[in-house]
């Protein structure tokens, strides 16, 4: 392991690997990535894998639609020898209350103004897209055919392989124990395999971003909470889009492999707990058999849990901080880091290298200073 680098990135998830690749692709090759276990072993590899552009704030819409364009060309851009399995089967968002219908109308107007061609649908139109959807209590839905899902392990691997080819050093099974600072400047990282001195340290630690910030003596208003998922045996293709309900707090997609993957937002206390619970199994089964009745015949083969790292407005915190020079953050993704990792990598790299980027205003807007100024961007559409 190197003992000196220009940039050290803490976290070998999709965010850390995307930032590493974009730094190297822009000429900054003296980069080290540190990962406590294996690549995508944390929040990335445990996520629902969805890639949607139907968001309720301008920032999330722009981050996700820019990222979707990257996913479309990712196998070629990163010269990946595998396949990131990006499938644009769309996202069908379903509304069961008047309040949700109103929110969906606002969201579609915003999305359309930003070039995202989402549509407002009646229950019958929604059922044409997903024939096994129970529309009995449904009031309306929205659909965007360019949304979809990708494989988080392969996306992370694709970024990591491309970064390595450009000279980035990725150290797995390496735990960060501390962050070195002199006055208000960061100077390096202490790991269980030795120290690395570096003028720039990036916190891309996902569910543990709060722990890493604390090591640096930087205050972040973020915390982790457990979210759970289950997957069924594979069956023949029968569901194109991801179906998502903010009312049931659930989402459900059929993967290219044929299995159905579904998750649920629960009311839990902040923690780093990632053991699964039987209560989830019960609540998930109750809700999904009501929403998508034929799925009751599918066998569950596995359940697991991962961490959402929540920010106060459910929108990420990107860029540097006045508290500590050289300390960069890409944290607080609140459950949608995977789908915006491509744009996050581009913008963070541009910021670190002082390059121009047409969407650079996003970084200034989503800087941590927004909380002190009270300029929040509350995302209404999160499961």
């Amino acid at each position: 392991m190197k003992n000196k680098a220009e940039v050290v990135i803490i976290g070998g998830g999709v965010i850390g690997c995307s930032i590493a690749y974009h730094l190297a692709a822009n000429g900054m090759k003296d980069v080290v990535v540190l990962e406590k276990e294996y690549l995508a072993s944390g929040a990335t590899g445990r996520c629902g894998a969805g890639v949607r552009q139907q968001w309720g704030t301008e920032m999330n819409c722009r981050l996700s639609s820019g990222s979707a364009r990257d996913f479309e060309n990712m196998n070629e851009e990163l010269e990946y020898e595998g396949d990131i399995e990006f499938i644009q089967g769309g996202y069908l968002l379903v509304a069961y209350t008047e309040h949700q219908v109103e929110q969906f109308r606002k969201n579609v107007a915003l999305q359309n103004s930003l070039g995202i061609k989402s549509k407002f649908l009646t229950p019958l139109e929604a059922q044409e897209i997903v024939p096994h959807l129970n529309i009995d209590p449904l009031l309306a839905a929205t659909f965007h055919d360019k949304d979809g899902h990708a494989n988080p392990f392969h996306v992370t691997q694709a970024y990591a392989n491309a970064a390595r080819r450009l000279g980035v050093q990725i150290n797995t099974y390496t735990t960060v124990l501390g962050i070195k600072r002199e006055g208000d400047k960061v100077t390096g990282v202490i790991t269980d395999r030795g120290e690395i001195s570096a003028p720039i340290v990036v916190n891309a630690a996902g569910g543990y971003a709060d722990v890493v910030a604390k090591m640096a003596g930087v205050n972040v208003p973020t915390y982790s909470e457990r979210h759970q998922i289950l997957v069924t045996e594979p069956v023949e293709a029968m569901q194109g889009p991801m179906v998502m309900s903010f009312h049931h707090n659930t989402y459900c997609q059929q993967t290219p492999h044929g299995s159905f993957l579904m998750g649920l937002g629960e009311n839990v206390e902040p923690s780093h707990e990632i053991r699964g619970s039987w209560q989830f199994l019960k609540e998930m089964s109750d809700k999904i058999t009501e929403m998508l009745p034929p799925l009751r015949h599918l066998r569950i083969v596995r359940q697991w849990a991962g961490l959402y790292h929540m920010s106060p407005d459910k929108t990420p915190i990107l860029g540097g901080t006045e508290e500590l020079q050289g300390f960069q953050m890409a944290v607080g993704f609140s459950g949608h880091g995977f789908m915006i990792a491509p744009m996050t990598g581009r913008l963070m790299a541009a910021n670190i290298l002082g390059l121009d980027h047409k969407d650079k205003d996003i970084l200034a807007t989503l800087n941590i200073e927004r909380f002190a100024k009270g300029e929040l961007f509350v995302e209404p559409s999160v499961v």
Partner: protein, 102 residues
């Protein structure tokens, strides 16, 4: 056994993963089962690795020279056996057992 037969032997029969495919991943540096299963899908089918996990650990050990006793073993995840969503949904729970409502 010819080389082709040796490579084409299916190790993970739920996901149709051959020995040759596992070797290709191992040779790329994916040398523990945690990473190998996520990239290749081996052990992730209906039997959840109950048939192939030991075979794959043997293949990794033989290919890398690292003994199985030092191998990284992934978590076993619930449910222990495949069970339908309908069977769980139809279960009636006593009042005190119910998951908290949102």
């Amino acid at each position: 056994m010819s080389n082709k037969e040796y490579d084409n032997t299916i190790i993970c029969r739920c996901e149709d993963i051959t020995r040759g495919e596992l070797h290709r991943w191992i040779d790329q540096g994916v040398t523990n089962l945690e990473e190998l299963k996520r990239l290749s899908r081996a052990t992730m089918g209906p039997c959840q690795g109950r048939t192939c996990r030991q075979l794959i650990l043997q293949e990794i050990a033989a290919r890398t020279g690292v003994p199985i006793s030092e191998a990284i073993i992934p978590s076993y995840r619930q449910p222990l056996r495949g069970v339908t969503l309908g069977a769980i949904a139809d279960m009636k729970l006593d009042e005190e057992e119910k998951p908290h409502e949102k």
